[in-house]
């Protein structure tokens, strides 16, 4: 059985004006199912680029990204959208909830895209909202929730379809340390209970501390890769 995610000689270049920026310079790594991994490193080290490529939001300049042994590097836009829809959950730094939808509707959104029937949606959404500690807040709109509660909704939205991978881009950056800690504990619980695979990009020492694997990037290359 191969790794859940394999990255092979991954390179990504960006053109900024006339200058070519080498965001990733040939990276190799594997992530196994059920890992709780933080990708750390200074700004410009390639953290977000790596997550975008694993998350099928972008395509590499060279090299391969394999998810469940399928090379997604040359997938069409539609195929990438299908992978994201079915297998990947995202948690964003700024929560990115849809303001006109209630907490319940925000969490149900990815399931509606998968055309689940309403009873199944109802059951799954209520359960996950309970799991993230938002029972009774289903009908609240994002503006009626605190930052921590909004990020819990975002975590629930990422997990509700039981994806293969959950990618979190600096999930604690907009939260105070207590709330950030709570969110991390929650994600770790869900990782342990549900076996969900989490990959974070972060600057936050607290996230690095709680991750079970820490990959440090520097100048688009893996500087260190440590399992705790």
């Amino acid at each position: 059985m191969g790794a859940l995610v394999s990255v092979l000689d991954l390179k990504k270049d960006y053109k900024v004006g006339e200058t070519v920026v080498h965001a990733l310079r040939g990276m190799d790594m594997e992530i196994e199912a059920g890992e709780f991994t933080a990708v750390a490193g200074p700004s410009g080290s390639g953290k977000s680029t790596l997550l975008n490529l694993i998350g099928c939001l972008d395509t590499p300049t060279e090299g391969k990204v394999l998810i469940n042994e399928n090379d997604v590097s040359h997938y069409s836009k539609k195929e990438l959208a299908n992978i994201r829809r079915e297998s990947i959950g995202f948690i964003f730094q700024t929560f990115n909830l849809i303001p006109i939808l209630s907490a319940f509707e925000n969490v149900a959104f990815p399931l509606s895209l998968l055309h689940w029937d309403s009873e199944k949606i109802q059951n799954n959404v209520n359960q996950i909202l309970k799991d993230v500690g938002l029972e009774g807040m289903e009908d609240r709109y994002p503006r009626e929730l605190s930052g921590g509660q909004q990020q819990r909704v975002a975590v629930a939205r990422a997990l509700v379809k039981e994806p293969t991978i959950i990618l979190a881009d600096e999930p604690t950056a907009n939260l105070d340390s207590n709330t950030g800690g709570d969110i991390l504990d929650l994600m770790r619980e869900l990782n342990e209970e549900k076996g969900a695979t989490f990959i974070f990009s972060t600057h936050d020492p607290m996230v690095m501390d709680r991750a079970r694997r820490l990959i440090n990037l520097k100048d688009g290359m893996i500087h260190s890769d440590e399992r705790k």
Partner: protein
């Protein structure tokens, strides 16, 4: 798809004030469109009715030379009349039509009491036959209808006001006979009519045909025969009459339809209608600019959200459709509101009507044959067109910004503030 439609309906309330302003713009556009369309059609139908009932009948028969001179120069040449008109009547008469002879001539009318004077077209009519073709009798406002062979005159209410005459006053008709000699005919005002046709009310007077024949030395001639058919579609009848005239060696006579007789004002009416529709088009464009603005803003303000939805696996075509539905939903609400208000305003116009006498009383030819209250017309097509346009336009407008948004890289969209 149902999910996308529900999502679109939720999204239109994201910016309530902007959405309501857009609804109002669409609704006002619809109300103005259906109101103006109904009004213009009402003006047209009413004008056609009043033109046929009071001026042209359905078909008129003239001496070709008389008709040419009347059409080109406005002169009524009494020496170019219709001889032996009773034979013509016999030739063309069928059960389906009514006919009446008339003598039309130019004159000046003088109020014998105070001396005021105005130019008129005076028409000699056969009272008993004329009422079967024209509607003068029904429009008597005061006094009575004409009797055969009396020195009486009927004039319109507007003319009576200008000449300051009342029932029983004497008027002198100054004109020329068939042989171009001056003639003055003294007549008593026996009736004042208030027809819904300003041309008639303003400058036409009626005397008995016998008096006109005798005092204008017409020697039995008349200038025209008016024909009333059962309905306004008279093209076949016109062809039949023209053929009958030709086959009976009456080629010097011409049969002319009401459409031909009214071509000047019908053209004017069409021009006015086109002008009015241009104004409506401008209103629609203003409403469309409001909708374009709303749709552009609602897409461009949500670039980051669109990026997030794409990250969650929403396909590009689903995003495109969600904005198309959103545009259509805005249009739908505007259309429903606009159609309801339009129905109410138009119901008032159709069943009660608006008073346009401030226009007709200005003593200028406004082209339309209308007076006072004119009622509108129900035209379901105008409602359907306006509502369909209002729904489709915002839906189509939303395509451009949506395409622009989904052509952005997802990572770029997510970086947007």
């Amino acid at each position: 798809m149902l999910f996308l439609i529900r999502f679109a309906f939720k999204n239109i309330w994201r910016y309530k004030r902007r959405t309501i302003i857009t609804f109002i713009a669409i609704s006002v556009g619809i109300v103005l469109f259906v109101f103006t369309d109904s009004m213009l059609k009402g003006f047209h139908y009413e004008s056609v009715r009043n033109f046929i009932d009071y001026e042209s009948s359905h078909i008129k028969i003239y001496n070709q030379e008389f008709y040419d001179e009347m059409s080109d120069e406005g002169f009524l040449l009494l020496d170019k009349g219709i001889e032996n008109y009773k034979k013509v009547q016999d030739i063309i008469s069928t059960e389906d039509i009514s006919v009446t002879p008339r003598i039309s001539f130019n004159a000046r009318m003088i109020n014998e009491r105070i001396g005021g004077e105005r130019p008129f077209t005076v028409i000699g009519i056969e009272p008993d036959m004329d009422k079967n073709v024209y509607s003068l009798k029904e429009s008597i406002d005061s006094g009575r209808y004409l009797k055969t062979d009396e020195y009486g005159v009927i004039i319109g209410k507007m003319a009576a006001k200008k000449l300051e005459v009342k029932i029983g006053d004497m008027l002198t008709i100054l004109t020329r006979t068939k042989y171009d000699t001056y003639q003055a005919i003294s007549v008593e005002v026996v009736g004042i009519i208030n027809p819904p046709n300003p041309q008639i009310s303003r400058s036409v007077a009626y005397i008995p045909l016998d008096i006109a024949k005798r005092d204008l030395d017409m020697e039995g001639d008349i200038t025209e025969i008016g024909i009333r058919a059962k309905d306004d579609d008279i093209e076949d009848l016109l062809d039949d009459i023209s053929s009958e005239l030709k086959s009976n060696n009456m080629g010097y006579l011409t049969a002319v339809s009401w459409r031909e007789l009214g071509k000047d004002w019908l053209t004017l009416s069409r021009t006015k209608t086109a002008g009015s529709y241009i104004i409506i088009l401008v209103i629609f464009i203003i409403a469309a600019v409001g909708v374009i603005n709303t749709m552009l803003m609602s897409v461009f303000e949500r670039i980051k959200e669109i990026g997030m939805m794409r990250a969650l696996g929403m396909r590009d075509n689903e995003i495109l459709w969600s904005f198309i539905f959103e545009g259509a939903a805005i249009g739908l609400f505007g259309a429903v509101f606009g159609v309801v208000i339009g129905l109410l305003v138009n119901a008032y116009q159709v069943y009660i009507g608006f008073d346009w006498s401030f226009m007709t009383n200005m003593d200028v030819d406004i082209g339309y044959r209308i007076m006072d209250v004119v009622k509108g017309v129900w035209n379901p097509e105008s409602f359907i067109f306006a509502a369909t346009f209002s729904i489709l336009a915002p839906a189509l407008i939303s395509i451009y910004p949506s395409l622009k948004a989904i052509r952005m890289e997802i990572t770029e969209s997510l970086r947007t503030a």
